[in-house]
Symmetry: C2
Subunit: 132 residues, 2 copies
């Protein structure tokens, strides 16, 4: 144990966890902490149920391929539900599950952090780049 423990908040004092659980958590984080997943999640959280094409418009910069891929993965992970309406032309809607919503809430703090600290980050980058 290092001498830095006391200066860290209690939120980081996890109980010791099974390494295999930790590895699984890492895997989930790696899959879930994905740029497009977070953006689509945010769009669905902010705009509610949406059709495929609209979702693509709202998820700025995403390609159709990545949208399909991201949505399939999110569906598989239980973050969204896909509803196919048997009409022509096709109408498919996506919405967050409770699980997806809880992730959006958990990730919300990171969005706020990014929004709040944008300028600090840019300033830090500029200073770093200037120094070398």
């Amino acid at each position: 144990m290092t001498t830095t423990v006391a200066q860290r908040p209690a939120v980081f004092d996890h109980p010791p966890v099974d390494p295999r659980v930790e590895a699984l958590v890492n895997e989930v984080i790696g899959r879930v902490a994905d740029k497009w997943t977070m953006i689509v999640l945010d769009v669905l959280a902010e705009h509610g149920e949406q059709r495929f094409t609209r979702l693509g418009q709202l998820s700025d910069g995403i390609s159709q391929k990545m949208l399909t891929q991201t949505l399939r993965q999110m569906e598989r992970d239980g973050l969204v539900v896909r509803t196919v309406h048997p009409v022509v032309p096709p109408k498919v809607e996506y919405r967050l599950t409770d699980l997806g919503f809880s992730l959006a809430e958990a990730f919300c703090g990171v969005w706020l952090w990014a929004e709040k600290n944008l300028e600090r980050i840019e300033a830090s980058r500029a200073a770093f780049d200037a120094a070398k």
Copy 2:
């Protein structure tokens, strides 16, 4: 505005933001919501200041190359400070800045979410895979 607004918690009712700010936030999220960044961030938050090699051991599965790369980027973004001790053999220590620490706190909710919902995710995946 859709009819789903009322059922969403206040945390998602952002004021309208400049699209360019939103794009920048997306960029930061894309860069920061990176698997290795989150893992190294977590390790530094939990274990405090660490040397390069030790950091690699604690960040399970990371290669030396990715560790270097991730640390440089985090340093550039102002998340960590790199301290070189002029001794031989070299001793370089990394620790979180206040900014880095605040991100670790913001991201902490996602770790807890992942830990809490691991089994639900695995069950969902199994069901999804079985259905097709």
